[in-house]
Symmetry: C2
Subunit: 345 residues, 2 copies
């Protein structure tokens, strides 16, 4: 690999500079993406390997990123599970048959990735060819809690009433649901490993609606099972365990496993790393909204994150969550260049 | 006062039982409230002292609560500030002239509560008569950051792009805006103290979108000024400093002041109290969504919160945030009765 700084950072090895990639780095803030979006729906783009590959490459061609992440969505496994999904313009994902009762849970099908998401695996292969060993490619999945919440709520949610309803009912249904989703995620990630991705990330964007005890009881065991099984299957592929709003129980999040812990901006990076332990790499954690301020301010705040990492091996610079729609492209470029320059060893 | 357990808990004195009240205890989950809501808009209800008093009393008449909180909204000061507001059915608050530039900030008027929110002060007086010394009445305000966010975003927000935009621009505008809002809040709370409320609470529901350093720089100094000035003015009125999603920097939130720290369910109550220090009382912190589960489950999870308080003086039982629409009324009653029974000294 021409630039393996990202992989080396995942393993806490020496690097030439702090590697940087940005969650949702391929997306609506880029005009190249919007040009494609004029012609295809979001799901069409995901399901057409050539387009998914092209979108994955857009930020790679525009910026000096240290990793690519396959263009996909955490909800792609749903179709194969028998859950009907669409992306409504301006409204985000909408599930037409949310899972609410035991019969719904029983009806969930465990996917066969080669049959159910062949387009994703093909997109990974195409992208690997396109990347030609320049930088690594990251595959990903939603974590069990976040995926379960989507499936049960039927879309975005404020209070997670339905998901927590099943959870707190404490009658075995939550476990049944999570066991099935966990199995789906394990297969989904193993298939991406087989297709050749060089790293994997779990996104647990919604799990922070739980308190620590609820996380321990209702989310952690399933996330842990995913990571344990995928790591046993593909021990050499670094695994990033990312969640948001879990700053009060990073110690628990760590118990779920992963080589790299992804943290959001609600906790200072040095304190987070201290609490997690320096036996893990860490990814993060600038507030994505900083990218809307001046380039000087962006540099100042990115430097502050790098200062907290203090040049220690095992830091991957990223935002604390995905890039926000409307982020100026030249600000993204300035950020990436600054991280490289400022962190040059 | 017939039942002053709440006030004694605020001062960390002995109590007969752990006092309990619930944020948003007067509201849409009660049929008595919905009957009034058929006839009046939300703002009409707030602006008519007799109705605001009636709504405040609805949960007091239905449950054995240890405190009442005046029926009002954190956005009531806006009209006097020259900011046009309405509550759109199903959509929540909508501000028609959000504050986005220096001229908008300059145009903000500092309110005179006796002229601008006379109805609120009258509602407090009516309610005090109605309560007749049975339990204390809490007055409240939004905290500076939360109020600023509303005013700048123009309503609810996902990423706080506009508010953080002013904040990160770092050109003096954020300070100017926050100074004015802080002055408004100080006057608003002092007027409620004058009207006779026996406790005050600041709601900082949105400040958890900030990281610790940003909280320290952009929110804490203003919240602290509010609490310092109001406490100097009315030293005998207990002050509750409540925020959500700030579990990673409770130590900073404490620096802002207050006799009681309100915490949400993302942190275990005993750990939160330990970090804050036992020289403060603590309020919280059951997940409001637990109220949708069975009464057995509610009792179990409420007991778990009480167990973490371990009978220590200074715990006020509450939810970690407001009651959610659709919460079953009999579950609320069961919770309140259980807290009393379980915590009886």
């Amino acid at each position: 690999m021409t630039n393996d700084n990202f992989l080396r950072a995942c393993r806490r090895e020496d690097v030439d500079h702090t590697p940087v990639w940005l969650m949702r780095q391929a997306g609506r803030y880029m005009k190249e993406y919007m040009a494609l979006k004029e012609k295809y729906s979001f799901l069409e783009m995901c399901r057409t390997p050539e387009i998914a590959c092209e979108v994955t490459m857009q930020p790679i061609n525009a910026f000096e990123l240290d990793a690519a992440i396959i263009f996909a969505d955490i909800l792609l496994p749903l179709e194969g599970m028998g859950i009907k999904l669409d992306f409504i313009k301006g409204d985000g994902p909408k599930i037409f048959n949310p899972v609410r009762c035991e019969a719904d849970i029983d009806a969930i099908r465990i996917i066969e990735p080669t049959e159910d998401v062949p387009y994703l695996l093909e997109a990974i292969k195409l992208t690997l060819k396109e990347l030609d060993g320049k930088i690594p490619l990251i595959g990903f999945s939603g974590a069990p809690f976040t995926l379960a919440s989507y499936i049960v709520e039927g879309g975005g949610s404020r209070n997670y009433l339905h998901a927590k309803g099943i959870m707190y009912a404490d009658d075995g249904q939550w476990k049944k649901l999570m066991d099935k989703i966990t199995e789906v995620i394990i297969r989904y990630l193993k298939a991406q490993a087989d297709a050749g991705v060089q790293a994997l990330q779990l996104f647990d964007s919604w799990v922070g609606c739980l308190g620590p005890e609820e996380y321990k009881e209702f989310a952690l065991p399933y996330t842990k099972r995913v990571i344990d099984e995928v790591k046993a299957y593909a021990p050499d592929i670094p695994f990033i365990n990312f969640s948001t709003n879990t700053g009060t129980y990073l110690e628990l999040a760590k118990e779920a496993g992963g080589d790299v812990m992804g943290v959001d901006w609600r906790v200072n990076l040095d304190e987070a790393w201290e609490r997690i332990g320096h036996d893990k790499a860490i990814q993060g954690n600038m507030d994505p909204v900083v990218l809307f301020s001046s380039i000087d301010e962006i540099k100042k705040r990115a430097s502050a994150v790098l200062d907290r990492a203090n040049g220690r091996n095992g830091h991957i610079f990223n935002l604390g969550h995905g890039i926000v729609l409307g982020t100026p492209v030249d600000h993204v470029k300035a950020l990436i260049d600054h991280v490289h320059e400022y962190s040059k060893r």
